[in-house]
């Protein structure tokens, strides 16, 4: 009898905390150690079960697959917990009507918007922005591709730091979405990119999604 009552009491307590987690604004949960602890308790195993395949054991992501390095805070859409929750709910280019899919990296060369030479030049410009060794003349030409012919700055911002509203990554390093080497950058301009994240709205409960978002935002970084 005591065990049954104890179990019921625990269950009721969990239900109450769960409701509190859902009703409290995410930003406030981050500064409430009791609720945050509960969110992490729920969110961490979910991450290990559902997200680790793409995002890595330690949130390090995967450059070949275009999965952002969350361990180094390379958040495509910002690290506001509400935004992260939305990404988990509806995904990125997941096909869900509410998914994040405002922009796509176009295949600038394949579609004829840029030539292969333009692409090489703009890569040199990006190398220059990142403070890496680069070809000066090509970087100068690449600069005009970035700001004029290619209109790259429209999505990636004038300072090439990316725009969270569009989910465009920073191109200035040191952390890159698909890798910062010349070949990876060139391939992005040549073929375009089309990363995606599935929508979890029909897989996880709202509580689990909230907890997962809070875990991602609050997980300790190396």
């Amino acid at each position: 009898m005591i065990v049954a009552f104890g179990g019921m009491g625990l269950w009721l307590h969990r239900q109450q905390v769960a409701a509190e987690l859902l009703r409290t604004e995410p930003a406030r949960i981050l500064s409430d150690s009791r609720l945050l602890h509960e969110a992490v308790r729920i969110g961490q195993p979910l991450y290990q079960r559902h997200c680790v395949t793409c995002h890595g054991t330690n949130l390090e992501g995967s450059a070949p697959r275009g999965v952002p390095n969350l361990a180094r805070n390379a958040w495509l859409y910002g690290n506001d917990p509400i935004g992260v929750e939305r990404t988990i709910l509806y995904g990125i280019r997941s096909g869900h009507p509410k998914a994040r899919n405002v922009t796509d990296m176009p295949a600038m060369v394949r579609t004829g918007q840029l030539t292969r030479e333009d692409a090489h030049d703009v890569v040199e410009f990006l190398q220059q922005l990142a403070g890496k060794p680069h070809d000066e003349a090509a970087a100068l030409r690449g600069r005009s591709v970035y700001y004029d012919k290619g209109n790259c700055h429209d999505c990636h911002a004038r300072d090439a730091k990316g725009v969270a509203d569009y989910g465009t990554p920073a191109l200035t390093g040191p952390v890159y979405l698909y890798g910062g080497d010349r070949d990876s950058l060139y391939k992005s301009v040549l073929d375009g990119r089309h990363g995606e994240c599935p929508a979890w709205i029909n897989v996880l409960t709202p509580l689990q999604i909230r907890a997962l978002a809070l875990y991602l935002v609050s997980a300790p970084r190396p």
Partner: protein, 312 residues
């Protein structure tokens, strides 16, 4: 007699009154539930929702995102007035959407109908659209369909028809003579005049016979299989044998031709990608429609079916 004794005494009248009262209360509750939209409502709003509109949730997450994007402020900094406005708008939208369903809007409004159809298609094809074919898959597809990938060839041709009366045999004979004359180098105009030939009218441009280069696919679209098969091997300056079609006897003069040039995988990669995706989309769409048909009851009036007894 005390009240206690009275209550313990069996009373048929009291039992009947209690039974009737219970039945009436039950009926009233059931009637309220059956005949009002609020009958089966749940009283509380689930924690994940910010409101319930006729039992449909408005998610907190959607509400917070909407507030942030509408006022460009972090949700925590949104004023009560801003939150009230966003929630009010979301409730209104939900009400209008529900009213649209009540009115069965998709069944008669073409725009809503199209949007709904497009939405369902998108749902069905979402996985395919989100998938990225691997380079190995693309290359394998290219190797299997190499014939498809070439630059578009062009043809400049005259499709001539024997105009004279007479049997098919007689017209075929005349066409053979015309072919011989053309192959000997006589001009097209002279042969047309001498043998009474006319342009078939299949390749017209603004009311005139098109004597410019025409894309090969356009030629293919305008002629029968038999005629196209006769045209395809012709090089510039060559003349086909006579071809008997339902509208008469044809002969084709290939004035000039640019042959399609096969594309390498790299050159064709965009088209290959598109074709692979389209093929996958077609498969998914077909499977979805097959599933929908399998569970639907479709009855077609026999007089309207293309093939009686067969569902289109």
């Amino acid at each position: 007699m005390s009240i206690r004794e009275d209550l313990s005494r069996v009373s048929v009248r009291r039992s009947m009154i209690l039974l009737a009262s219970g039945a009436l209360i039950g009926l009233a509750i059931a009637g309220y539930g059956l005949f009002t939209s609020k009958g089966s409502r749940s009283r509380g709003v689930p924690p994940e929702a910010v409101a319930l509109v006729n039992q449909r949730l408005i998610l907190r997450s959607d509400f917070m995102t909407q507030t942030q994007s509408e006022f460009s402020v972090p949700f925590a900094q949104a004023t009560a007035e801003q939150r009230r406005k966003v929630l009010g708008d979301m409730i209104n939208e939900e009400l209008l959407m529900q009213r649209g369903l009540e009115m069965d809007l998709p069944s008669y409004d073409p725009e809503v109908r199209n949007a709904l159809v497009a939405g369902v298609e998108l749902e069905v094809t979402a996985d395919v659209l989100a998938q990225k074919p691997t380079p190995e898959h693309l290359r394998a597809y290219y190797e299997q369909h190499k014939d498809k990938y070439s630059s578009e060839g062009t043809m400049r041709l005259r499709d001539l028809l024997v105009k004279t009366d007479g049997s098919v045999e007689a017209r075929r004979e005349l066409a053979l003579q015309a072919v011989t004359a053309l192959r000997k180098g006589e001009s097209v105009d002279a042969v047309m005049k001498r043998f009474g030939l006319a342009d078939s009218g299949r390749f017209m441009e603004a009311g005139h016979v098109n004597t410019d280069n025409i894309f090969q696919f356009a030629v293919r679209a305008k002629v029968s299989d038999a005629l196209y098969n006769a045209i395809l091997p012709l090089q510039g300056g060559q003349v086909s044998d006579p071809i008997v079609e339902s509208d008469g006897v044809h002969l084709v003069v290939m004035v000039d031709r640019t042959l399609p040039v096969p594309q390498t995988f790299e050159e064709a990669s965009d088209r290959v990608w598109k074709d692979v995706t389209n093929e996958a989309l077609d498969k998914v769409r077909a499977a979805n429609l097959a599933y929908l048909r399998s569970r639907a009851e479709i009855v077609v009036a026999p007089d309207n079916a293309a093939v009686p007894g067969e569902t289109p």
